[in-house]
């Protein structure tokens, strides 16, 4: 018997994996992809609850989330490309402009 809880646990797993990826990978694009994973897990949670509660709002929200994700990816990719063109790198460890130049 597949209860709502199964879906929720699945969503939690994917979310945790996505979080691990964001905080661990050095490549900017892979980090972006991990963020997408996390957003997806959130979508799954919404839809699972929609079924459980009989509320269609849980279907509307993932649509919005996907839209926002699309916008975010667009802008984010533009930034990454700009960084790449300027610094020739896609490694997050090279982006330390906020750090004081003098410290070691």
């Amino acid at each position: 018997m597949i209860t709502t809880t199964h879906y929720l646990i699945l969503a939690a797993v994917v979310f945790a994996i996505g979080a691990f990826g964001v905080l661990t990978r050095r490549n900017l694009l892979v980090m972006l992809m991990s963020v997408e994973l996390m957003l997806n897990a959130a979508n799954l949670t919404f839809v699972a609850f929609a079924k459980d509660l009989g509320d269609m709002g849980g279907h509307i929200f993932p649509i919005f989330i996907m839209t926002v994700a699309a916008c975010e990816v667009a802008v984010g990719l533009a930034i990454i490309i700009t960084i790449f063109r300027l610094g020739d790198t896609s490694d997050v460890l090279d982006l330390t402009f906020m750090k004081d130049i003098k410290s070691g």
Binding site: V92, L93, L95, T96, K99
Partner: protein, 643 residues
């Protein structure tokens, strides 16, 4: 009327402030005027106070309380001055002789580049000394005690450009301080046992309730106080600063190291006589040290060639007499000698100053001589003073010294007094000897000075010679107020001080006393005459004897000349180990341990900083992890807080 006493010390304090703060910009004449007139005013006020005191009769005393200074539990100290016969005598001597010396200084220090500073310090000294003698409470006395020590340092090292002179000042202060430490412990013990440091209060408590302090404790207290006295009044073992103190200007030597400051120890014991009589052991020790010092210092004096050094050792020796007196219980005799000594010792120093001034700074008596024609006033007054100190009647010194010797011999403490008397008698011989040696070598015979110096020899200006004449007069007739009944006098001095300094009685019956007193008188006269005669023979008639003596007994002579090498002994025993200890503390403990702790702290802070540095290294993922961690924390609190 009684509220006026505090003005007596205040006047010289005002002089200190005026000359000290503005003196450099004032013309010398104004500085002199301020610096001399204020002490004279102080003296006039003292005389007036003396007359008021006489009006009050036998048990008269005047107290003047300004305000309550310290109060802590049961212990209270008020800023109060007491004028009784003892402090009155002291105030008169201090302000009188002090004023005279201030006047003398006008001529002596003429042209000095720090003229104003000199007078301001000298006035400050007078203030401190007057506070000391007029204080009603031991704490206030100690204030004055410290103050005169400070002024001694300031004035000894007055010409501090000369390193040797500065060092002399330092030595004086440090040795004094050692004594002061003992004094302070004594005061602390008094507070613990008696409970107050107010002198009349102490007396009352001890009279009504003598069990409050055991004999042992009394001995301890008085001994500690006496340690302070040995420092201030240059007795064994803390006398070593006084000869070095001659580096200061001669009027300073006259005032501080002859007439007044060094007598503070004697005054203190006289003031606390009611405490000292409770500790006969201490009194014996005091008398022993006093009489021994008298002889000891006298022997050093016979080999010195610097005119001021001879007088310095002479001062130490005469102070020994005063301590002998108070040690055997003859407090008023001690004060009497204090007064006469002030007269003739000040005169001797000022006369020496006159000579040095005339001889263009020469202080070695081997280069002097033949000053009679060119400096008559100095010559005759110096002679009077020398006769006085040698104990020749009817000059002042005879009466006071003889009184001490008699009281020592007949002390109620027992036949140990004979020892004190014997030491004092031999010292008297030596005193007469070295004083006349000094006189003969410096003033008589052919002049041994260089031609240059000889040309400049002149009598001192009137401002200086007038003081010499005044002191000469006092040295001559000053003794008459203390003529004992034996010789037909009324012993006025002792009777005046009787309310404060009680008579302790002798070990002889009335009849025996008279007999012995006459015997001792004869002994004293013979002693003085012997000393003078020996000096005459060795330094006037046959001047080759001293040289032969020095050659044949080189070791002994060398030892005496080097003041028994006590300074060197102190250097090895005390000073070098002290410096080594200091080196340990600074080099090892300060450098390694203390600095090490500081360096450890720095390293810890830096290390901690480096640790935290990692959290801000620019890696955004670390920031994210921290965020996540914080989020988890909140979640845990929220979720599991409800469960």
């Amino acid at each position: 009327m009684d509220n006026v006493i505090w003005i007596i010390p205040l006047l010289p304090l005002a002089g200190f402030l005026i000359n000290g703060l503005g003196g450099r910009r004032l013309p010398d004449r104004l500085v002199s005027f301020v610096g001399v007139s204020l002490p004279i005013a102080s003296f006039v006020l003292s005389v007036w106070a003396f007359l008021q005191l006489l009006k009050l009769g036998e048990e008269g005393e005047i107290t003047c309380t300004l305000y309550s200074w310290i109060f802590s539990g049961n212990f209270e100290v008020s800023l109060a001055f007491l004028l009784d016969p003892l402090s009155c005598v002291m105030a008169l001597v201090v302000s009188g002789v002090g004023s005279a010396i201030h006047l003398y200084s006008v001529g002596y220090m003429h042209g000095d580049k720090s003229y104003a500073r000199y007078f301001s310090f000298l006035n400050l000294f007078l203030f401190s000394m007057l506070v000391l003698v007029l204080a009603e409470d031991l704490v206030l006395l100690f204030l004055g005690w410290e103050g005169v020590g400070l002024c001694s340092y300031l004035l000894i090292g007055f010409w501090f450009d000369d390193m040797e002179k500065a060092k002399a000042g330092k030595k004086a202060f440090i040795v004094n301080r050692i004594g002061d430490f003992g004094f302070f412990i004594g005061m602390a013990l008094i507070v613990i046992t008696i409970g107050t440091l107010n002198v009349p209060g102490m007396k009352e408590i001890l009279e009504n309730n003598p069990g409050v302090i055991t004999t042992g404790m009394a001995t301890a207290v008085t001994l500690f106080l006496f340690v302070g006295a040995t420092g201030k009044s240059a007795q064994i073992p803390l006398y070593v600063w006084l000869p070095d103190a001659m580096a200061g200007p001669t009027p300073v030597s006259a005032l501080i190291h002859a007439a007044t400051m060094v007598t503070a120890g004697v005054y203190m014991i006289a003031r606390l006589n009611f405490l000292y009589v409770l500790a006969p052991t201490t009194m014996i020790i005091v008398a022993l040290i006093g009489s021994f010092t008298a002889l000891y210092a006298a022997t050093i004096g016979i080999a010195q060639n610097d005119i001021k050094k001879v007088l310095a050792y002479s001062t130490i020796s005469q102070l020994g007499y005063m301590f002998t007196a108070v040690g055997v219980g003859a407090f008023s005799a001690g004060i009497f000698h204090l007064m006469t000594h002030a007269f003739f010792k000040a005169l001797l120093f000022l006369g020496a100053g006159s000579v040095i001034h005339a001889m263009s700074g020469e202080q070695d008596i081997r280069k002097m001589g033949g000053l009679r024609e060119k400096m008559p006033v100095t010559f005759w007054t110096f002679l009077i003073a020398t006769l006085a100190i040698s104990g020749i009647p009817p000059l002042a010194g005879f009466f006071s010294k003889d009184e001490i010797l008699w009281k020592a011999f007949s002390t109620h403490l027992g036949s140990i007094g004979i020892l004190f008397w014997a030491l004092g008698l031999v010292a008297a011989v030596v005193t007469a000897f070295y004083m006349f040696r000094l006189f003969f070598m410096a003033f008589t015979g052919e002049s041994r000075a260089s031609a240059d110096v000889k040309k400049h020899i002149h009598e001192s200006p009137f401002s200086m010679s007038s003081v010499l004449l005044l002191l000469g007069l006092l040295s001559a007739i000053g003794g008459f107020i203390g003529v004992p009944e034996l010789l037909g006098g009324h012993n006025t001095f002792e009777r005046f001080l009787e309310p404060v300094l009680p008579h302790l009685g002798s070990r002889f019956s009335e009849h025996d006393a008279h007999f012995w007193e006459i015997v001792l008188l004869v002994f004293s006269l013979v002693a003085a005459a012997t000393g003078i005669f020996l000096a005459y023979v060795m330094y006037v008639r046959r001047a080759d004897i001293p040289k032969k003596f020095a050659k044949n007994y080189k070791a002994v002579y060398g030892l005496v000349y080097d003041k028994y090498r006590i300074d060197e002994l102190y250097e090895i025993v005390f000073i070098k180990p002290f410096f080594a200890l200091g080196w340990i503390f600074s080099g090892v403990i300060d450098n390694w341990i203390v600095d090490g702790i500081v360096r450890l702290l720095t390293a810890m802070t830096a290390g901690l900083g480096r640790l935290f540095n990692a959290s801000q290294d620019g890696d955004v993922r670390v920031y994210g992890r921290v965020l996540l961690g914080g989020l988890l924390l909140i979640l845990i609190i929220v979720v599991f807080g409800r469960v």
